[in-house]
Assembly symmetry: C2
DNA sequence: AACAGAAATTGTCATTTATCAAGTTATTCC
DNA sequence: GGAATAACTTGATAAATGACAATTTCTGTT
């Protein structure tokens, strides 16, 4: 198919700073000052991570908070016996590292699923003496954690899914909402992870994932070309997922 | 069985304040002052909730943070079409409400799974003017959220479970660790939720949950008398769950 | 102690999903 | 651009789980 060749390199847009999870913190650090000199001492901007490379290795010391600027990441837990479990995906605008804040080391390995870039914010700011600004930093962090927690809350719905079709519909709708939340189209995006990753994440065989995607496509709910994914019938997909039909709409207008 | 009659009323111990999720906040508010007068203006202590009663109704305005003092709760999401999804359980020492902090209303209904009691802390403290103490409150909240987030992280492992046996083993080990974390025995506790609740939470049929429990018991990994549950072979159960064998030990000594 | 209702167990059968194997299509790397 | 590799698809079969119905046990109440 010729169209496929044209679309192969289409990728998700870079997220704007105003839609980024680090926005609050960056603003405090001088993002909106004419020269960014102050900001630049705290934030390492647009660090590139090539497809397949690790941004974070499990066991590594916790030093930075990251925000995905462009591209996509997965978090994987590796076990002694060689098994691996994908525990999360990170979309543009979302933060990486919040879930490890309690300890001193990262629990999971974070890998780029395509050529990606991140902004890194040093966690040293948390150790500074208490002052007015410090208070605000903490508040920003609290907001970020709150958002992350709500996202994780939704995973609980995923866990109760009754069958593969519902699980996968829920998964797609979840990704869609998250794209929309950060100012990108919520019905047309690049699903950069492999079927294997999705399957591992959802606890399904990857053949099952493939078959369900195909079925959803045949029913006209979604359309895929390689990794590019378009949702063609949001209400029906939401229904399959067992969500209220307003699911995506409400988060768009919010 | 005669022994059963004796054990019917055995219940989980009340958690000590020093093992409670609200400890930091209560301490700030005067928990350790000789008279508790200051504390009592912020904290409503030992509010009783009878088995089956709702502590929180979905949609209700967010006003308090709760900590489970004794007993057990479940959080349920209700859908328009009548379906319900159990999204979380709350054990003694754990907090309730953190996951809704972002919004103004509760998303889930929280129900007591046995005669329980909670401490309630007014969220108004968060709106007070910025002062030294306010900073500390925020920090406490950040710590609580961090803990909750790590707990939720573990749910991600649950989601990837390959089969019912692994799911349920993981579930039991998870509950066990959480009891241990708050100073209670991690190998002997009352599992107050119904099979139906566990099944709903894990996305399994309740008959399957029952059969797996029975199988685990026949293999000698666990022992149950009614709701009372004892883990008899931690390493084997951890193995089934696909966890490192040190899982429980490490959290005990910590 | 006895009753009523709820919860749990058990057995059978239908459905879903995993597993394995073979073939096809995409990607990556020279 | 082409070879090598990885990812995905498809089909057949086995295994796990869900659904239903009948029975037993448990729980709470009087």
């Amino acid at each position: 198919m010729q169209a496929t060749n044209n679309m192969r390199w289409v990728t998700n847009r870079e997220v704007g700073c105003n839609f980024c999870g680090l926005y609050g913190i960056c603003k405090l650090s001088g993002l909106e000052e004419p020269d960014h000199s102050r900001l630049d001492t705290f934030v390492q901007r647009r660090k590139k991570v090539a497809n397949g490379e690790n941004l974070i290795q499990a066991g590594e010391q916790l030093q930075y908070l990251y925000a995905v600027k462009a591209g996509m990441f997965k978090s994987t837990r590796y076990f002694d016996d060689g098994r691996e479990q994908v525990v999360d995906f990170h979309l543009p605008g979302e933060m990486i590292g919040l879930e490890s804040l309690g300890g001193i080391a990262h629990l999971n390995t974070v890998t780029a699923l395509e050529n990606s870039s991140v902004c890194a914010y040093s966690l040293h700011m948390l150790e500074k003496p208490k002052d007015e600004q410090q208070f605000e930093y903490q508040r920003c962090l609290l907001v970020s954690m709150t958002e992350k927690m709500q996202q994780m809350q939704e995973q609980s719905l995923l866990m109760g899914a009754q069958n593969a079709e519902q699980r996968i519909s829920l998964f797609i709708m979840n990704i869609a909402r998250r794209f929309g939340q950060h100012g990108m189209p919520s019905d047309f995006f690049r699903l950069s992870m492999l079927r294997r990753d999705i399957a591992n994440y959802l606890g399904l065989a990857f053949e099952t994932v493939g078959r369900v995607f195909k079925k959803l496509e045949q029913q006209g709910f979604i359309e895929t070309r390689g990794r590019l994914t378009q949702i063609r019938n949001i209400p029906e997909l939401a229904l399959l997922a067992g969500l209220e039909p307003v699911y995506l709409q409400s988060s768009r207008t919010a």
